[in-house]
Structure formats: C-alpha cells, structure tokens
C-alpha cells in the first residue's frame, strides 16, 4: 500500500466493504484512497471477489413466485443511462438518472393544485437553457464532494419545508453543487428524492438522490449553477420523474 492512510484503517475498510457494512462516510473514505492508490484498489477487488466466491458456494433457490414478481417490477422500472467512465464506483452517490428535463409547471399547477406562492417569491429570470442535459461528471479529483464543500467560493443554502435537514453547497469554481443532509427520512426502493431548479414556472431536474440507511445524504451534481433559481426537492418514483410530483418537500 502506498496510501498515506493508516494501513490498519485501510484493512478495516476493506473488511467492511467485503461484509457489505460500509457506512456512507466509510465508503467515501475508502473511495478516496482507491482513486489514488492502485494497490489498495487491487486489494479491494480481491477481497470482494473472495467474499463473493464464498457466498456463491451456498446458493439457495428462491420461491418460484419471485421470478414473476421481479420481471413484473422491471417492466415498470426505467434503467439508468450509462455513467461517465470516470465516475466513482461509489455508484449512486456520483450519478444521475439520465438527462435532465425541462418541464413546464403550468399543467402541474392546474392538475395538482400547485402552490405558486411557494416558488414565486424567489423565482427569477427565465430559465434559458431549455433542453440542456445536466450530467454528473467526475473531475477526477481525490474527493469531488470535498472539493465543492471546501472550495473558497462555496456558498450554502439551507432548504426548509417538510424536510429541514438539507443543505445545498455550490461552488462556481468547481462548477458543481453538493446536496448534504442528516436525518433525512429514508425512502424505500420504490422511491427517490429529486432535486429541481425552478425559475419562471419551469422546473429542471438536477438529479436524484437517496439518503443512506442512517438518513445521511451526500451527493454531488456537476455542470449546474443554481444561483438564479429556486431549489426544490420532491419525492418521486425510483428513477426519478420528468416533472415534479407535489408536494415540494423542501425549497430555498
């Protein structure tokens, strides 16, 4: 190992990875080492492969009904698009569910009783990037989340509403924002949270995020500037939605 991290700590993280017991913080810590240390990366691979080999030896056929349930479930489950090759294997923590969409909220207002006052106060100039694809990219840094959070020009906005534990940190120099939270209500696999930029009656999806089992959120979205927009968070079906599903759970 060539990492500066204590080797005992690295061994501990590798053991937890193989056990499936990494916390979100553990994962970020290990990911930061793996990115910069090929030897550690190799050790992680080998440990996971060994653990998987052990677990494969004791297969057990599931009830036959599971097959039809699974196939029915995937029929209504959208797939993620391909992620950038440089994306971290921390998986969902660094990805979005595909191109963002620009969606008029007019129909939402009419159909679902949308509350324009919630957003009108802070709504600003017309959002002029219709159709833009907001894609999470990885800048290859050792910790892209920390790069945003600790950037000298980072600004914070605390969201309020039904969910009060979310903060959005934006850095122009990093061209990215990070959503952080603690104690955020956990959603099951049928649902996800979705972050939107709202301006002049148009909502644009930034991406989806989910808290870990302890309610922690730490998600980075690149190529997005929220400065002139209201931020809104909704709860959506797994995979996200093309338009926000009311109510808006938090906004700022």
């Amino acid at each position: 190992m060539t990492s500066d991290m204590n080797s005992d700590r690295i061994d501990e993280l590798i053991a937890l990875a193989a056990l499936g017991e990494l916390s979100a913080e553990d994962e970020r810590e290990l990911d930061s080492v793996v990115r910069t240390d090929p030897a550690v990366s190799a050790e992680v691979d080998e440990a996971l492969a060994a653990a998987a080999a052990l677990q494969r030896t004791h297969a057990e056929e599931p009830p036959s009904a599971l097959r039809s349930s699974v196939l029915a479930a995937i029929a209504s489950t959208p797939q993620e698009r391909a992620v950038p090759a440089t994306a971290t294997l921390g998986g969902e923590r660094q990805t979005t569910d595909g191109p963002s969409r620009v969606v008029s909220l007019d129909s939402q207002r009419a159909r679902r009783g949308f509350r324009p006052a919630m957003l009108a106060a802070a709504a600003v100039a017309l959002f002029a990037v219709g159709g833009v694809v907001l894609v999470v990219s990885d800048d290859g840094g050792s910790d892209p989340i920390a790069a945003v959070v600790e950037a000298p020009d980072a600004t914070r906005r605390t969201l309020s509403g039904e969910i009060e534990q979310l903060t959005v940190i934006y850095s122009a120099s990093q061209d990215a924002l990070v959503v952080e939270g603690d104690g955020v209500p956990v959603v099951d696999d049928t649902a996800t949270y979705q972050l939107w930029l709202v301006g002049d009656g148009v909502a644009t999806s930034v991406g989806i995020f989910r808290p870990d089992t302890d309610g922690r959120v730490s998600e980075r979205f690149a190529n997005v500037d929220p400065s002139d927009f209201v931020l809104g968070v909704t709860r959506e079906p797994a995979g996200g939605s093309e338009s926000p599903t009311l109510p808006i759970l938090a906004s700022a």
Binding site: E12, L19, D45, E46, A47, R56, T57, A59, Q79
Partner: protein
C-alpha cells in the same frame, strides 16, 4: 446507496476471477449483461435464472427470514436492472457484482428492521464449532469444492470468522458478540482470511 446506502462495488481491475465460475456450462453472463444494458428484458429473465440462487442464498443467510429475503432479493434484481449501465466486465464478474450488491442490500435491511439481538437469537445460539461446514447445502460445483478446500486450510481463528461472516451470514458485530471478541479483532480476521483466500484461489488454475 444510496443512496441508499453506500454501494461499494468492485473496481476496475483485471482479476483471474472476473470470469463467472457459476455458469459453466450455462450462458455467458457478460453477454447477457450487455443485452440487459440495452434494455432487453428477455435477457434479464435469463440472467435472473442464472443468478437467482446465489442472490437469494446470499440475502437469506444474512436476513434468516424467508419472506424478507424474498423481498430483498427482488430489490437486488430491480437494482441490477436499473443500474445495469454501471456494470463493466473489466471490473468484476457479473456474479461478483450481484453478490456484492445482494450482501450490501441485506445488511441495509438488517440495519433498518432488525436488531442485532433479534438476529443472534434467531441464529439459535450456535457455538462457533457448529458453524455450517462448507459441505452443508453446497452447490455442487468445481468452484465450491475449491473454495471449500481453501477455507479449510485457513488458520482456525480466521476460518471460523470467515465462515460465520460469509457462509452463515453474520455481521461483524454478531460475530464479535458470539465469540466475545473485540470488533477490531473480527474485522482483522476477516481481512486476513480474505487475503489468504484470495491468494489461494487466485493462484489456482
């Protein structure tokens, strides 16, 4: 993760196990995954047939409860479908990817719904020497035999912990309590045991 919870998946690396030993002489899982990545649900059905046993077995060993295991196994397969684009055959075998995801999902469910005490009670107060041997309900395969031999060659203190963790499905907290060991000792033995297994299995033909 993610998201739910953190998802730690195998990283980019050419590794001798990145083929899929469970499939001989079945279909090529990597080819199936490529079809699944393109949204082919028929290919996914075949993939399900190939992986259902290892995914359900992995989940059930951790959760014990059959109904909950079925539910979580479904979550795993839906996640496999949803995140198929992330699979890279140069990073890991399909089955390693699936098993890693299944283990993590099951652990997430334990954290969410079961107390450690409940699980220990369900495990029936097994003594360490009563841990299932590699011969129990083993899938008859060359890999199983090879893995079983490698496990048997581990120093006893590592073998017991490895079997409890990956054959019986105990968390490291469970193991520490059952064996009356510090958590750090358990994690250390898991790490050492896996490292030795990796050497033994990786060196094998």
């Amino acid at each position: 993760m993610i998201a739910t919870a953190a998802v730690w998946m195998p990283r980019d690396r050419a590794h001798p196990w990145h083929h899929d030993p469970i499939v001989s002489p079945g279909p090529d899982l990597v080819s199936l995954m490529q079809l699944v990545q393109a949204g082919d649900d028929a290919a996914f059905a075949v993939l399900y047939d190939e992986l259902a046993g290892v995914v359900f077995g992995t989940v059930k060993r951790v959760l014990r409860d059959p109904a909950m295991s079925e539910e979580v196994a479904q979550e795993v397969f839906v996640e496999l479908w949803r995140t198929a684009a992330r699979f890279d055959p140069d990073r890991a075998s399909v089955s390693t990817w699936a098993v890693t995801m299944a283990r993590r999902r099951a652990v997430d469910r334990v954290r969410r719904e079961q107390s450690q005490r409940d699980r220990i009670e369900r495990s029936g107060n097994l003594r360490p020497d009563e841990v299932a041997s590699p011969d129990d309900t083993v899938v008859a395969s060359i890999e199983a035999e090879r893995v079983g031999r490698a496990v048997a060659e581990l120093p006893e203190e590592q073998r017991i912990v490895i079997e409890m963790a990956f054959i019986r499905g105990d968390s490291h907290g469970d193991i520490a309590e059952l064996l009356d060991l510090p958590l750090g000792t358990v994690k250390g033995r898991v790490r050492l045991g896996l490292k030795k297994l990796s050497g033994k299995l990786g060196a094998a033909p």
